[in-house]
Amino acid sequence: MTSVPCKAWVMSTEASGYLLHQIPYRETSSLVDVFTLTHGRHRLLARGLRKPGPTPLHPFTPLQLAWSGRGSLPVLTRVEAAGTPLTLTATALYCGLYLNELLIRLLPQEDPCPAVYAGYHQTLTRLTQKDCPEAPLRYFELLLLESLGYGLRLDRSAVGCPVQADRHYHYRIDYGLEEVPAPTADSLSGSTLSALQNHTLSDEIQLRQAKRLMRRLIHHYTQGKPLGSRALFQTRTITSPPA
């Protein structure tokens, strides 16, 4: 890297990060949304990147980024792969795109979130393994909402009673858990709640209940605007051709 003479008003910054999204801009440039460890989600101008030739600037590749300038649109000055690309395939790839969409939709710009960054890296890594992606997605969603300040209290009801494994609860947004006398379509068992919190979600019922809860919360915090990546999970069904 050639060193650029440092002017007092030009600030140069370096950070490790991931590419979330890239939008073509002007002739050969792009606007890139990156998620960095030290600066959170950040939009940069990447010049000349759409020229033919390889670039490590792809989603799910750990990157080392450098940019200069502050204000509305800093310029990306250097990008290098900082590790092996995490190869996501099939459903895991949809999950990865879902995580990126969540971050773009929910994370404020330039607000460092080291815990979410670590969780993102860890979740992507788990998605590259062949296990069921459901549980890691739930833990990431929970971590993200907590980091954004929408802290969910899952070990006590809103009135302060400890959650009991064999009881049933309903989660009211901006209020907390309410015990319900019998399970309903929307309720969660105490065991699901503690499994979600302790990262031990295991059986179908727990996964289904946790998914319903997180889906409802994310729907609420994304102002009800649907997430495009969800459509990928529904395979278009083809009615069989007449014999």
Partner: protein, 198 residues
């Protein structure tokens, strides 16, 4: 600075072309109005004609003047093989480079949730009726080797397998004649993962 009048309007209109910013738009406008007025008139007329006459082929969705494009109407093509690509430009590239004798389907895009491109935007209903026609035995997915191209390929493969048609995906690879040392890490990782028995 905003240029007033029709000149300003023209410069603004030219900026709908990919890669044309205010400066190139100004250069183009002056070229057309000062140095090549005949060319400008021809361009304007051809553009209108093209807009009126060119639509999408009803079979493959590529750009076509006829309801069915020349390639789809050619009786010499192998109708049992279908290659799915992202854009009309790739139809030409694949035909010229590979000598592929089958038919094509053009998505005119790829799945990219953050850009508002979902399954509903890709006219998969047209693809579906092609698949149901019963003449296709093999589908070759030739979407780009980007994350979005990969997601598109996976989505299509899930959809196509339901009707029992064989699906394959073009290989990721090291560029021909390339020294491994100079190949970027992502390409090399994919090529390594997709290695073949030798």
């Amino acid at each position: 600075m905003q240029v007033p009048g029709v000149l300003g309007q023209l410069m603004h209109a030219l900026r709908c072309l990919p890669g044309v910013g205010p400066r190139s738009a100004q250069r183009m406008a002056f070229q057309l109005l000062l140095r090549d007025r005949d060319g400008a008139r021809r361009l304007a007329e051809t553009l209108l004609l093209a807009l009126d006459r060119i639509g999408h082929c009803g079979d493959c969705r590529t750009l076509s003047e006829d309801p069915r494009c020349r390639l789809c109407a050619d009786p010499g093509r192998d109708r049992s093989e279908l290659c799915i690509v992202e854009s009309p430009a790739e139809v030409m590239a694949i035909t010229q480079a590979t000598g592929f004798r089958g038919l094509f389907f053009v998505l005119n895009g790829k799945l990219s949730p953050l850009d508002g491109m979902g399954p509903a935007q890709l006219r998969l209903d047209v693809l579906e009726s092609r698949l149901k026609s019963g003449e296709i035995r093999e589908v070759i997915l030739a979407t780009s080797t980007t994350v979005e191209g990969e997601a598109t390929a996976h989505y299509l493969s899930q959809m196509i397998r339901q009707v029992g048609i064989e699906v394959s995906r073009i290989a990721y690879g090291v560029p021909f004649g390339g020294e491994l040392e100079y190949v970027d890490g992502t390409t090399l990782a994919h090529a390594f993962k997709g290695r073949q028995t030798f």
